[in-house]
Symmetry: C2
Subunit: 284 residues, 2 copies
């Protein structure tokens, strides 16, 4: 296939590198800043940059922009893609956009397939991109009933070739409600965690748990504001859940109620151990 | 020195291995379960088990039990240690115990020095012990004014030999207030995080941030209940701080207030970046 990657940031750049390294597909890049295209050509992960007038030559177009620009790019260019080509994106929110893009693409004879590669780093930009970023990572595909089945298979095959581990199909709305918990809430917590006044004294006093808890606090505020706002209800539900549970621990500690606190911690341990057991089973 | 390690769990076992691997000191073990002593002798990390009647032969006694048993062990055996020997422990809470043990030890001619090695794993027991656990980790020492200066130097020299990175001296009470944030709060969050009903659906939908957020939820409930309760005021303060900040994000999202949310995320990013800058400087 001739594949166009739109937006060569951390994820787009890593797509270029993974596809070029692990498959025989021809990869082209489209990026606002031409210097990034030069760097990508230089490192050999794309054949060359593509002009907007060439959008009709690709078998697959993978949009790797932030959520709002992703939707805008697809709306603005839907008339330029080849009939029967596959259009996909990597946005962390699928819901309504998936429904609308599937319909719009169909109007132009284009096959839209929404995906969410569950990989990332606490840094961004092409300079941090990495062809091995996806090895063993989860890959979520969110087809609708009317989505072209063959296109889904091609997208999933490409993901496997790029090194992804588990490939999961789910509905766009289930995706959003689960991701609110597994990814978005973690980012909210990390960002809130660093705001204690005690943060100023932590040097020399921390171990792995502090680093883990605050790693993703460096997230890009433009992208994540957009992701959070597109998933408002699910994310507010998860923050409320967490605050409710934190309050249980808080009250048990404040009231010196060791029995309740011990039970709270034990319940958490059992839930996590159960979770780890399922993970181990999956790897067998 | 002849060193006695009391309690060969994750930390005690790792102490035996690190001291035996990286120094010429002679290490002896004292443990409730004789099978653990056999395993430690077998793997060569202690010379042999010591009997309670031999406590007087050691230059240094390092108590690696949970917080309550640590204090009990020291109270019960203070009369058996050699005059002028160094008594130390690895408890995650120092405050009042440090004051009391320093005084009690002095009454018996023993030099007590409180320490807190900032290293651990989400597992426990001798089987998980690891001589390289402390390499590059922070080591906190909490001497009082009346603490024997030479004993502090000897304890710190041993820590450096065991591979610890940064060695920090602070007061027992400052230790407790900072540790409430850097370690205890992280454990509370991790334990609370796994309690969302969405946890049951996370397989296939998570990436690094979820794993980081929930890693230490497997903590031992007996030990951590005791640690949390010994640091009630500091920990309640930190949980309240976090809930306050989480609520700011929650409200900005619920009210669709992008400007406020973006500012909250940006402020978090800047705090974390500032923190990372200091870390890098430290390593230069």
């Amino acid at each position: 296939m001739k594949i166009l990657i739109v937006g060569l940031g951390l994820i787009g750049g890593s797509y270029c590198k993974a596809i070029t390294s692990y498959t025989d597909h021809e990869v082209y890049g489209f990026n606002r800043n031409p210097k990034v295209i030069d760097a990508a050509v230089e490192c050999g992960c794309i054949k060359r940059g593509a002009d907007i007038s060439e959008f009709g030559m690709f078998d697959m177009v993978i949009v790797c922009l932030h959520p709002d620009p992703t939707e805008k790019f697809m709306r603005d260019n839907m008339d330029k893609f080849k009939k029967g080509c596959i259009l996909t994106d990597v946005c962390g929110i699928k819901g309504q956009m998936t429904v609308e893009m599937t319909k719009l693409a169909a109007d132009y004879g284009v096959n839209y397939v929404g995906t969410h590669p569950m990989a990332g780093k606490e840094h961004f930009g092409f300079d941090f991109s990495d062809g091995s970023l996806f090895i063993g990572a989860n890959f979520i595909v969110t087809p609708l009933e009317e989505t072209d089945k063959n296109s889904v298979l091609i997208v999933e095959k490409l993901a496997r070739d790029m090194g992804f581990g588990k490939i999961v199909e789910t509905t766009p709305f289930d995706h959003d409600s689960i991701i609110a918990y597994t990814s978005q809430l973690a980012h909210v917590v990390s960002s809130a965690y660093v705001k204690s006044p005690t943060m100023q004294k932590e040097l020399g006093f921390s171990a792995g748990s502090f680093k883990d808890m605050t790693r993703v606090a460096t997230m890009n505020e433009t992208m994540w504001t957009s992701l959070f706002m597109s998933n408002r209800d699910c994310l507010v539900f998860e923050i409320d859940e967490l605050i409710k549970h934190l309050t249980e621990y808080r009250n048990a500690i404040a009231e010196n109620d060791s029995d309740t606190l011990e039970k709270l911690i034990r319940d958490g341990r059992l839930l996590k151990e159960e979770n780890l057991k399922h993970r181990t089973k999956e790897c067998e």
